[in-house]
Amino acid sequence: MNHPANIPATTCRDTPVLKERGQREVFCGLTGIIWLHRKMQDAFFLVVGSRTCAHLLQSAAGVMIFAEPRFGTAILEETDLAGMADANDELDREVARLLSRRPDIKQLFLVGSCPSEVIKLDLARAAERLTQIHAPHVRVLNYSGSGIETTFTQGEDACLASMVPVLPATEARELLLVGALPDVVEDQAVGLLSKMGIGPIRVLPAPRSADAPGVGPNTVFACLQPFLGDTAAALERRGARMIQAPFPFGEEGTTLWLKAIADEFGVDDATFEAVTAAPRARARTAIANASAHLRGKTIFFMPDSQLEIPLARFLTRECGMEAVEIGQPFIHKGLVGPDLDLIPAGPTISEGQDVDKQLDRVRAARPDLTVCGLGLANPLEAEGLTTKWAIELVFTPVHFYDQAGDLAGLFSRPLRRRDLLKLEAAE
């Protein structure tokens, strides 16, 4: 019952990966700031970059309401590049100004960008220096969200990984959940695990720096998102051990994810069943309702959020879809291996991108649904192809049992809409 019952004979883990290099239609890692700054309520993200970086953040966010959000860009100017002004002095001055105006800030992330990396501005040293200047009130960390080093969700990975070395040490036997999820989802996860008697449960990132979790040899951790490879490696370097499982999307994914943790903590089957039975049944009902429009439909994943493989597993196994191609910006089998194990061989698995060639494959396959970035969605719709924009998958609560129906709904809505609209002349 609680075992991955029907692992197919040949799975996508064995499928040779189509590796492509060419134009990549993906965001850079700076984009993660959009959701990270909302999760970490006393943190400020200072991108050291160009006008392009600022423009990206503004455009990717799509909206702006805060007079001063908890992120900003220190825009490099001609004088910084020409060496007329010492970029480090400039940075120190901007940080001092920012921190004096925003006393609520306890953690400051200096976020590296393409230009800061090309001019080799050493933000690690800057972070050390600024930590000394502003201690103990503010801790300054740094990570790279640059497009030359990271794609889209990798920015969150880089951010969390930068926090690991400064987490307090602990010998306690604790469960650490890793990944920035909306509170409602995080609470559900903690609730289910607590009911099984598992605890203490800590979360990275914590909403406030004072609540930062400890880490040590008795820490076990589970990733909530499939793009946290560097963070996992950093935690392992601190002695923590990862619990591997498929990711908690859909009823099956959530059950397998919870089960792996339950097994680690010696939860008996009866308890596991008692805690999960009701939400599992709810999830199944919700998925059945939402997936009516998905059954038998084909789906093509352009590489974007790194959620593609776990979502393909959910959509093929629980919603009856057929995957044509599953593309990810990069594939970390140490993380998505368990998901790949559950997808029967068949779809093309691709890594990286040459967007024009991939679009040729989309046009040839004419899938019922294409998951892609915002730059491609309307152009594909105009070609008569139905699309789902990938960015919604990282902004919307989609993990665990009670969001499983919503997750299926995100994919079925474009198809339902296509069926609903009657816009052509009747005759």
Binding site: T52, A54, I65, E77, P115, S146, L374, P379
Partner: protein, 524 residues
């Protein structure tokens, strides 16, 4: 280094993209790192374009840097030509590629591309988006438009409209109509929907209509110099400006200034009695220089507003805006710092803002109505319906657009009469904007706003619109209570005027009497 939260303009290569995306048969090969492709969504999402921008990015990564990024550029350029077969190519670098100094223009020159290749030098660390569009269009015109025989009939080029422009699509139609009425034909519209081949015919026109100086002034000057084509200085936004525009075009072309005013309703709408409530409304103007200049004239001469502040974000046109400030007796605000604009608006406490999408957010925070007059744009600035700013219909559209955010005519009096009525309480706002009424302070939590709410804009910050009290002055309880009886949309002004009056009189305790003495003092 300058800390920036929100920007009015993107980097210059986005300006170049706006030109390329507006055109057909042109392709832009952009040397840029992975991630810069975000700019595509501006066009596909905000403007709802049904095609990808004609831009191929090299999207180099870290591992490429030590190797051959120049080779990647050449390969990308060749692949883009082979796949898209454009009539012309523009090549350039984004901010990061500028630093690695691969010289896309030089590289492209060494290749055997059988169509014109125009190299763009857009200094990313000095200039911004509008420079990028203006420079790109100029370089294209310079490279492609030579002297050609004039058209036998009198024709005009419409220059400046491009992708992501504020109502450019509809302005083109309106200007075409104005010219048609004078018997002037259209030679080329560019960059909007023009091909590189069309640009070679620019010289056949008798006059250039410079619709948007921000995007085409350099090209207009170049064509005047190199091709002897005069260009218009008047931008026909507003009734008066449209009359002037027709006169200017007639003069330049030697034709009769014929006009068909049958569709122009704005003057009567403005004269009719319902509009008396518009008299002296205090407005703050901010946007690109061209739209602010035209809006200032409309606000004062055609709506009867009082302009209490104005400014622009594009420094290239600072001189024009300073002159305009002088004409209006105001110190103009020339800045691209959003926080400075917000501060200036808060201080001026206008009754309405005429600004960009950025000011719309400021207005939401401060509880001040705002109508959008200029780029930067938002998906709502691309309406499905015909909605020009220029010409006679543009004047009609502007009248409607500007009064829409306001509490209207009779309704304003009703609000005063029934101000204690539950339906007219402060938070109710104007009856025709159910969804946009400012919410009470307690309801709106700034830290936790769902994305849907953020998009629909139901958010108000903790700063109350009328919280502009001074430290030294004390409002007596009765006066404070009386102030509350004044409708919320004029309360800020009443409080400010009263405090100013009290300060002048040396009064430190404000009573009900002070309030009404001030009211009498400022009555108009």
């Amino acid at each position: 280094m300058k800390l920036t939260v929100w920007t009015y303009e993107g980097p210059p290569h986005v300006g170049a993209m706006r030109v390329a995306t507006a055109m057909k048969g042109l392709h832009y090969v952009l040397h840029a790192p992975q991630g810069d492709t975000y700019a595509d969504l501006l066009f596909t999402m905000i403007e709802r374009r049904n095609h990808r921008p004609p831009v191929t990015y090299t999207t180099f990564e870290g591992r490429d840097l030590g190797e051959d990024t120049a080779g990647i550029f050449k390969q990308t350029c060749q692949d883009a030509y082979d796949r898209f077969k454009p009539q012309a190519i523009i090549v350039g670098a984004s901010c990061t590629a500028e630093l690695i100094q691969d010289d896309p223009g030089g590289l492209a020159e060494t290749m055997d591309i059988p169509v014109p290749v125009v190299a763009l030098e857009l200094p990313s660390y000095q200039r911004k988006e509008n420079f990028g569009s203006d420079e790109t269009f100029y370089q294209l015109v310079k490279a492609l438009a030579g002297p050609v025989e004039k058209t036998p009939e009198i024709t005009a080029n419409l220059i400046g409209p491009l992708a992501l422009g504020f109502r450019h699509r509809d302005d083109i139609e309106e200007v075409k109509g104005l010219l048609y009425e004078m018997g002037i034909g259209i030679n080329v519209v560019a960059p909007f929907d023009a091909t590189p081949e069309d640009l070679t015919r620019l010289g056949a026109a008798h006059v250039n209509i410079l619709m948007y100086p921000e995007h085409a002034e350099t090209a207009a000057r170049h064509m005047e110099r190199a091709l002897g084509i005069p260009y218009t200085r008047t931008v026909p936004i507003g009734v008066g400006a449209t009359h002037d525009f027709v006169a200017e075009v007639a003069r330049l072309c030697g034709v009769e200034p014929k006009k068909d005013l049958s569709r122009l309703r704005q003057p009567w709408w403005s004269k009719s009695v319902d509009s008396t409530y518009l008299t002296g409304k205090r407005v703050f103007l901010f946007g690109d220089a061209t739209h602010v200049k035209t809006a200032a004239r409309i606000a004062r001469d055609e709506m009867g507003f009082e302009v209490v502040g104005l400014g622009c974000y594009n420094r290239e046109f600072a001189r024009d805006i300073r002159a305009l400030g002088k004409e209006f007796g105001l110190e103009p605000l020339i800045t691209d710092d959003y926080l400075e604009v917000e501060k200036a608006i808060e201080e001026a406490a206008p009754e309405m803002i005429l600004g960009t999408q950025m000011e719309r957010h400021i207005g939401k925070r401060l509880g001040i109505p705002c109508a959008v007059i200029s780029a930067p744009v938002h998906v709502q600035d691309f309406p499905a319906r015909y909605s020009p700013q220029m010409g006679w219909e543009g004047a009609n559209v502007i009248f409607d657009t500007w009064i829409h955010p306001l509490v209207m005519g009779l309704e304003e009096h009703l609000l005063a009469m029934f101000r204690e009525d539950f339906e007219f309480h402060d938070e109710a706002g104007a009856s025709h904007h159910g969804g946009h009424a400012p919410r009470s302070v307690a309801e709106a939590s700034v830290a936790e706003v769902a994305p849907e709410e953020r998009i629909s804009g139901k958010v108000k910050d903790e700063v109350a619109p009328d919280a502009t009290g001074s430290d030294v002055m004390v409002w007596l309880a009765d006066a404070e209570k009386e102030l509350k009886k004044i409708p919320f949309f004029v309360r800020g002004k009443a409080r400010r005027n009263t405090e100013k009056f009290a300060a002048e009189k040396g009064v430190t305790e404000i009573s009900v009497d002070t309030l009404y003495e001030a009211k009498a003092h400022y009555a108009r």
